[in-house]
Amino acid sequence: MTVAVGVLSDSSMKSDTEPDSVESAPSLVDESLISAMLELSPEERLRQNDRMVRTILLLRQGLAPRTEPNAREP
């Protein structure tokens, strides 16, 4: 499973009045994240991915007990 973390930069969020065509839409990618990753070595990029995975798993574990009571509500 892969999560795209570079999609939808704040500046790319569309308003209701913006056109829908892909050609005219602003970039959906946060280019600064790409720049940051390109500054790292391949090994550093792997370590960064591991840190992100651990963070996501921690967040999921922290979220799980909070969602259980709500799940029982009608």
């Binding site: 499973m1 892969t2 999560v3 795209a4 570079g6 999609v7 790409i34 391949p42 792997l46 995975v53």
Partner: protein
């Protein structure tokens, strides 16, 4: 899933063996600079008797067992690894998918010429090129691939401009 998966060490240990493989999937994109997060190691291994035996020895070292299979943990199947199917393992260091072939039936021999070599822990690692990954994702119908594609295309554009 281990509490603290370590895909980097899993990959470093695999690279330290004589197993012939090409790294594909999300981690191949990460290695080349994609700002995405992936939870498993995907490889396409060479499906020769000797190489599969080396892969099985490595899998035993990292405690590999099939994922998503109820009942007692099953050890890796030699016949499955010799075929074109996908063997999805959980290891002590995190998930590892050993793929006999990927989209369009592309196997190790077809993918190796489309890979580049990076060094991990001082050892060479064959990684499927970003251009090939983008080509495969463009043809994919998987919604996760569609979501990831703009990031990979932007990265490819940046690399081509550099």
């Amino acid at each position: 899933m281990p509490e603290s998966p370590d895909l980097t060490t899993l990959l470093e240990r695999l690279v330290a063996t004589d197993v012939e493989f090409v790294l594909v999937g999300g981690l191949a994109a990460v290695v080349q600079g994609a700002p995405v997060t992936t939870f498993d190691v995907d490889i396409v291994h060479r499906r020769t008797d000797k190489n599969v035996d080396r892969l099985i020895a490595f899998l035993a070292d990292v405690g590999a067992r099939y994922r998503n299979r109820p009942g007692a943990p099953l050890p890796p199947s030699r016949s499955a690894l010799l075929g074109p199917g996908h063997s999805l393992f959980m290891t002590d260091l995190g998930p590892l998918d050993a793929l006999g072939a990927i989209e369009g039936g592309a196997d190790y021999d077809q993918l190796l010429p489309e890979s580049l070599t990076v060094h991990i822990g001082g050892r060479p690692l064959h990684v499927l090129s970003l251009a090939k990954i983008v080509t495969l994702k463009r043809a994919s119908t998987d919604p996760k691939d569609k979501l990831r594609l703009p990031v990979l295309e932007a990265l490819l554009r940046r690399k081509n401009e550099a």
